[in-house]
């Protein structure tokens, strides 16, 4: 990829898209996530069977050995259908486990290869979260205690990567079984119901440290940065679909005897939405490249991707509602499902101003 997808990457995207559309697309998201249909085991199994959940595992561990560019391609597709399953999180966990050298990492890789879904509980370092949590502390023998707010999917995943303060100082990254003793999940109500969120309370739960005793802060930072890129990629996918839905709608909807889309003010909205989305696309490609190549511009590129999908994402979301008129404000119309994902992703792991501050540190002060 050189700021554009390769043919293989295009095929990857259309493969996943076919599977998701074939599974019911938005209707399925509504059924399971919004209408309380419970755990969507069937779709997860299908993703497992087709290799999507192990896409980022090394080939040696039974995966496809795909890189981060491909993870981004997958994330775009999960955004296009507001997927209600922890696929992106599992890809991120695969990558982190692959970087870990010890048993814990190998163990997690094996579980993912067998179909386990993984979620991520990274808190204080992620940004965008107000002070309230205790955070999690690890005892010397790997027992975790403490709380972390708003973990996506929570017990709907099998495993959870947990950021925890190490006994002797520094940060550790632990693989935790979501249903082990001492783990409690409490569901929250948040705007994007396609990603159910849970509070995690740990009381001496046993977990395995991926990076042993070493301070893994830079690993946690890396996971957060990669997560930001996948959130941005999801938002791009969701926003692009919003533009398509909006354009389709205004071509069909008539008022005053002609399509609403023949009004120039509507064209301006659609054009500005489209312009925002095309820029997002360039931003996430750039960020994916920077991560994949371990570029020194990683922090900058990631922040730019988050900025470009943040406020502009909110703009696309708001315009999509407005341009649909009152219909766009209803539950039955699909617009709100995408809007909710885009607004959530904007605020998770640091919103616009926080990311602009990072950018200023780099480009104004020349911080590394």
């Amino acid at each position: 990829m050189n700021l554009e997808l390769s043919e293989e990457q295009e095929q990857l995207a259309s493969g996943l898209r076919e599977l998701l559309v074939g599974s019911g697309d938005i209707a399925r998201v509504r059924e399971f996530a919004y209408e309380g249909g419970g755990r969507d085991t069937a779709l997860w199994e299908q993703l497992v069977k087709n290799g999507w959940t192990s896409a980022a595992l090394p080939e040696s561990a039974g995966g496809l050995g795909l890189g981060f560019e491909e993870a981004m391609v997958i994330a775009i597709e999960t955004g296009r259908c507001v997927l209600h399953l922890p696929l992106c999180e599992t890809l991120l966990a695969s990558r982190a486990a692959g970087r870990a050298s010890g048993h814990a990492g190998q163990g997690l890789l094996g579980e993912i290869a067998e179909g386990a879904g993984v979620t991520l509980a990274v808190g204080p370092s992620a940004g965008g979260i107000n002070d309230a949590d205790d955070g999690v502390r690890a005892s010397g023998d790997g027992q975790l205690s403490g709380t972390l707010r708003s973990v996506p999917f929570g017990p709907l995943a099998a495993r959870c990567l947990v950021e925890a303060e190490l006994d002797k100082g520094g940060t550790g990254l632990f693989a935790l079984a979501c249903d082990t003793a001492g783990v409690e999940w409490q569901e929250r109500q948040a705007i994007d119901e396609s990603v159910p969120r849970f509070d995690l309370a740990l009381r001496g739960a046993t977990a395995a440290s991926l990076f042993g005793d070493a301070d893994a802060q830079s690993e946690v930072d890396r996971v957060c940065d990669e997560w930001r890129v996948l959130l941005a990629a999801q938002s791009e996918g969701a926003c692009r679909r919003l533009v398509e839905m909006t354009a389709d709608y205004v071509k069909k909807r008539e008022q005053f005897g002609r399509p609403v889309g023949s009004n120039q003010a509507v064209k301006v909205r659609v054009a500005e939405m489209a312009a925002a989305v095309e820029k997002m696309r360039a931003a996430i490609y750039f960020a994916a490249l920077a991560v994949e190549r371990e570029s020194e511009e990683r922090a900058l590129a990631v922040a730019i991707a988050k900025v470009e999908t943040g406020v502009p994402g909110g703009f696309v979301a708001s315009q999509a509602i407005h341009t649909h008129g009152a219909i766009g404000y209803t539950w039955e119309q699909d617009v709100h499902l995408f809007v909710k994902r885009v607004k959530s992703n904007e605020l998770l792991l640091g919103a616009g101003h926080e990311m602009l501050e990072r950018i200023a540190d780099i480009v104004v002060d020349g911080a590394p």
Partner: protein, 398 residues
């Protein structure tokens, strides 16, 4: 915030009197944060009860002339009245369709029979009206509505579908626009009918909104029969009758609405002053400070601009196209303050009410509500056309 316009002693007294009444009469258990937790029917009962008490004590229809049982309140008193209701976070008046639309229309073009039948129960808070204007294919282009009424003996028979009105389930009467002559230009074949909402053939469902709640109805009319006399104004004059009052004193309404934004803004400020991120109070972060300042300005300016035009109306001017400016400022004030709420609250701002970490007042629900602001009551696009064409004379033809 302060009053930005001078009140005379009579107005100050009016304010004091109504404020005192509200303090004594706002129903227990009615607080905005709890209100959303009430069931539809519970909420309805609270409202009805409150509204009947208002009627009993003469606080409904304050703007109505005294000859029809109102208080004949001045425009300034109407503003005060609306502001006090909003400031007290009183239940929204279920009777507003009757009070603000049907009543005034009947006074203007109704028959004596219609007035004596319908006005008093509105004023007592006893009969509630449903407004049946919009249809699925008649939004901005309202006049293209297709619900038809056909005369059959001494009755009109109505068939069609209405959307977006509220309280249909609880309403006693509907004020419904129907097509009575399909063969003339679309504005000219519309009549304005009074429909008993308990009539056979009416089916009511709810439209679920993006936040999951349902306040708006779909109403289906399948051969609903209405007595011939239930037409307000002349047959086929419905469009005139209805739209005459749609540019209703927006200043008054808007000033009331913005009290809600003032309250929301103050909630944001308190949130910023009591919430820390990475050890710092949000209210110390420069972008939060600037955001609070800018949204304060947006809300304050919405108020000042409205008060400026209100000053004209107080001197007798009729509201005109400048109400389109008011709507644009309203959109901006509401959307910007809710954008700030989410941005400021960060990940916590995503939480819905009922979640204990959710900031007070539910930021995402308010954010969603603000998305509707640029649509309802004439879209942003329509307001801009009006300003360009009607105020600055740009050629229509688009």
């Amino acid at each position: 915030m302060r009053v930005d316009i001078d009140l005379n002693p009579q107005e100050i007294e009016f304010r004091g009197e109504f404020r005192a009444w509200l303090t004594r009469n706002i129903p227990a258990g009615w607080e905005p944060s709890q209100a959303r937790g009430l069931s539809h029917h519970e909420s309805w009962e609270l409202r009805r009860d409150f509204e009947r008490r208002m009627g009993r004590d003469g606080w409904l229809g304050v703007a109505w002339p005294e000859e029809y049982g109102g208080r004949g309140a001045t425009l300034m008193e109407q503003v005060i009245y609306q502001e006090e209701l909003a400031r007290a976070e009183a239940p929204g008046l279920a009777g507003h369709v009757g009070l603000q639309m049907v009543g005034p229309i009947l006074m203007e073009v109704g028959t004596d029979e219609q007035r004596s039948r319908f006005l008093p129960p509105i004023l007592r808070g006893e009969e509630v009206w449903y407004q049946g204007f919009s249809e699925p294919n008649a939004g901005s282009d309202l006049a293209s509505l297709q619900t038809r009424a056909v005369l059959d003996g001494d009755e009109w028979v109505i068939t069609g579908q209405k959307v977006w009105g509220g309280f249909a389930e609880f309403a006693d009467w509907g004020a419904v626009l129907v097509r009575t002559d399909p063969d003339v230009p679309k504005h000219k074949g519309i009549s304005f009918m009074v429909v008993d909402m308990k009539s056979p053939g009416i089916e009511i469902s709810y439209i679920r909104e993006m936040h999951g709640g349902s306040n708006m109805n779909e109403v289906f009319f399948d051969g609903v029969r209405v007595p011939r006399d239930n037409v307000i104004s002349a047959i086929n004059d419905g469009w005139n009758a209805a739209t005459r009052l749609l540019t209703w004193e927006r200043g008054v309404i808007t000033l009331a609405i913005l009290v809600n934004y003032e309250i929301f803004w103050e909630r944001l400020r308190e949130y910023a002053r009591s919430t820390r991120r990475a050890g710092r109070l949000l209210s110390e972060l420069p972008h939060v400070r600037e955001g609070l300042a800018q949204t304060y300005v947006n809300i304050r300016m919405m108020k000042l601009a409205n008060l400026r035009w209100l000053a004209h109306y107080l001197q007798g001017a009729r509201p005109g196209f400048e109400t389109s400016y008011m709507k644009l400022y309203w959109n901006k004030a509401h959307q910007s303050v809710t954008d700030l709420a989410l941005e400021m609250g960060g990940a916590d701002a995503l939480e819905l009410p009922g979640s204990d970490a959710a900031p007070e007042g539910s930021f995402p629900i308010e954010w969603m509500a603000a998305r509707a602001t640029s649509i309802l009551g004439g879209t942003e696009d329509i307001q801009r056309n009006i300003i360009a064409e009607r105020i600055y004379g740009l050629p229509r033809g688009n």
